[in-house]
Symmetry: C2
Subunit: 107 residues, 2 copies
């Protein structure tokens, strides 16, 4: 790989990696509806609060969410509208894979 291209692809991969865990996708989906604090998301995700906190830190480091302190609570919000494009792409791949599976079964 080109030495100039490498950091570029690494930066992209860091973003994609933040989007590559089911719990983080769930949290992002929920945050797209409305802003939420950690304890609400802990309930939603059904895993330990520390686990949720770490997932949110990963999303925050990637620049995907923002956090605002409200008293003792941390309220998170999505930081970009562009996630639509990402989710649509994933859905399209899943649909396509499903269709391919059905063709195999049907043949």
């Amino acid at each position: 790989m080109d030495a100039f291209a490498q950091p570029r692809y690494e930066a992209r991969a860091r973003i994609a990696k933040a989007l590559s865990h089911p719990t983080r996708l769930l949290l992002l989906d929920a945050l797209r509806q409305k802003d939420l604090c950690v304890c609400e998301m802990t309930e939603l995700a059904g895993v330990d609060q520390s686990t949720v906190s770490k997932h949110l830190a990963i999303l925050k480091d990637a620049g995907l969410v923002a956090v605002a302190k409200r008293g003792s609570m941390s309220v998170f919000s999505v930081r970009c509208q562009c996630l639509d494009g990402f989710f649509r792409c994933i859905e399209a791949v899943l649909e396509q894979n499903l269709k391919a599976q059905q063709e195999i079964v049907g043949s």
Copy 2:
């Protein structure tokens, strides 16, 4: 997490995970220009041939690329147009992060 939602998010995450490595992003970018065989991509990526082969297997398992045998060569191609949406999303996040960085420095 809802027991019904879980497999859904896991399926999404599998696709996203396939997109979360710099070498795989490079390969996909190259394949968006034109179909390529493994040896060409090995040259491009600058890593071991077996490494490229494994990365391609991951992309194939995710349904992101297709492979066609041509003699002793395996020619890969992108399998969905939707990747534009994905890449645009990543670029938007990167741009936004860069802008935020500049604001911090500039303040």
